[in-house]
């Protein structure tokens, strides 16, 4: 930057004007400054906390770390989290594909209403999402007396946690697939039908392969959210140790008890999940961007 200024002053007619690499490129100094700010910001707000989790988790050695993870309540929390995800994710996968299929490939009344409803969980605070279920299924709630009469417990039990998790992770798959399927249109399905394929066969052999990477991507995000959800689950769980505590809730309880090592050890599981999700997500985005999102086609 500065040498160009000097040159311009001394021998303006001799120095050839160097064209910028691109008209939208900033000067080098500005570029480095922006990059540096971004890196510092990332380090401070993302990398440092992540490191803290790991450092704190191992601060009393590997033995304490292992003990925190194998303690019965932690194992129960892990099992519950996996169970909830194992129910909520497949449910939302099926629902998401069906909803996206219906919205993208057919015209019907109330379509816009359905799209808005699918978006609802994203715009509602998770705590409110949890409260909704307490108000409906709780003892003082709408269906509470009936449920008590029939000895069915939903709130402060596993069903409530599953329902809250499904609600919160509801939009992930459908939101991802609707624009993708809309862009792909119905041409290939029509071709399959003219070739004699049944609708079912066409779905499995044409529609599904066309959305597979987008579907995988959205299930990945859905799963990460299902396992990490705190707010909504916290409201409906009741925090019964060994019974209705998921990993995020277990982390909070341990932390509130000043059991930092155990708390961070369990939290490192969630951090690990986040990292694995991030890596797979990046690989998918890099390799299959065109097949994941609509409008990302390069040819």
């Amino acid at each position: 930057m500065s040498d160009r200024v000097v040159n311009a002053g001394l021998q303006p007619s001799v120095t050839p004007v160097r064209p910028p690499a691109s008209v939208v490129t900033e000067q080098r100094g500005v570029r480095w400054l922006l990059i540096a700010i971004a890196i510092v910001f990332l380090a401070l707000f993302l990398l440092l906390p992540l490191l803290t989790v790991i450092v704190e988790a191992f601060s009393k050695g590997l033995g304490a770390y292992a003990a925190a993870l194998t303690e019965p309540d932690a194992v129960a929390a892990l099992r519950l989290t996996l169970t909830v995800a194992a129910i909520a994710v497949p449910f939302n996968l099926v629902f998401g594909v069906v909803a996206a299929w219906a919205i993208a490939k057919f015209e019907f009344r109330g379509k816009n209403l359905l799209i808005t409803l699918i978006d609802l969980p994203f715009s509602v605070s998770p705590v409110v999402s949890g409260l909704i279920y307490v108000l409906v299924f709780g003892t003082q709630g709408l269906l509470g007396p009936w449920l008590i009469d029939h000895n069915i417990q939903i709130i402060f039990a596993v069903p409530g946690i599953v329902l809250a998790t499904i609600f919160v992770t509801f939009p992930f798959v459908a939101r991802q697939l609707i624009p993708l399927m809309q862009e792909q249109g119905t041409l290939e399905e029509e071709a399959a039908l003219t070739l004699g394929a049944s609708g079912w066969h066409a779905f499995w052999t044409v529609t599904l392969p066309n959305i597979r990477w987008g579907l995988f991507y959205s299930v990945l995000l859905c799963n990460a959210r299902a396992m990490g959800e705190f707010g909504a689950v916290s409201v409906v769980s009741g925090h019964i140790r060994g019974l209705t505590n998921t990993i995020p809730l277990h982390v909070e309880i341990l932390y509130n008890e000043y059991n930092f090592v155990a708390s961070f050890a369990v939290a490192s599981l969630l951090a690990g999940l986040a990292l694995v999700t991030l890596v797979i997500k990046s690989v998918l985005e890099w390799r299959y961007s065109a097949d994941i999102a609509a409008g990302a086609r390069r040819h």
């Binding site: 041409l187 290939e188 029509e190 071709a191 399959a192 039908l193 003219t194 070739l195 004699g196 394929a197 049944s198 066969h201 052999t205 044409v206 392969p209 066309n210 040819h299």
Partner: protein
Amino acid sequence: MHAATDRIGASTAIQVADVSKTFDTAAVLHQLSLDVQAGELLALLGPSGSGKTTLLRIIAGLDHPDSGRIIFGGEDATGLPVQQRAVGFVFQHYALFKHLTVADNIAYGLNARERKRRPPKAEIKNRVGNLLDLVKLSGFASRYPSQLSGGQRQRVALARALAVEPRVLLLDEPFGALDAQVRKDLRRWLREIHDRTGQTTIFVTHDQDEALELSDRVAVLDKGRLQQVGTPDEVQEQPVSPTVLKFLGDAVEVSAVARDGGVEVNGRATPVQAPANSGRDLKLYVRPWQIRLTRPDDAHFVAIVQSSYRTQGRQRIEVEGPDRKPFVVESPDSVRFSVGEPVGLEIIGGYPFDAALR
């Protein structure tokens, strides 16, 4: 040409009977009836919005008519779902299965059959091989659609449609997305394949040259109505309406009168016969090659030269007629005309219609 011009004796493969179709509020097809002969290559020709693609999709079962019937070989197929109609459909934008190889694309229809009716693996492989030979893509079996050119993709799409041995092959603007040279080659090649297989074929096009070059018969559609069906010669020599005539090529519209069985323009006789049962006032439609340059004294009318250029041994002169509409006159003459020069034009042919007719 290929299919019988006389309708007697030729068996009807597909009958479209009084088919109407309305999308939202716009009518796309008005009580349209059309017979397709077995083994013929029929072109559905019309401008965009004429309903030709809708008609093709209704025949395929991809759309359903509001009223009317589709009859396949004497059997009512109106309610038959698309899977059971045994049609081969070729889309303008290929619609190949992106995630399948060329061979798997072609085999798709056979593999989709229920187990009882599915041919054994070896036979499928064999048939795919034959079809690849037919479409001249023998070395391409394990390629993916994205690795093929547009023309190659469309050939795969055709092979895929032929693999299920359809009763009728339906092509929707099959060459529309291809560039001129490829389009020309594919046309000739489609004609060859048709002659070899004798497959009843209907194809949709808005390109007059394509329809006239390729087909046994042309069905001209306009605004959802069938205007005329006939051999390329018939529709060109005896167009039933100005609409058909104008759609089949450039024509100059000239006011004329019928006198003693002949047609007069500006009080001067032409070699054109007046149509039977017409009124006195006529419109005469003249093709560029039915106008000859002449001395202004002998001319039917005088026009002003706007521009001229030579191409392929002929001279094309754009002139502006008395109604101030520009049109093109062809001339083999090597005499060049300068812009603004008045030229005399003599009519040596044309198609007269009653002036009341549109």
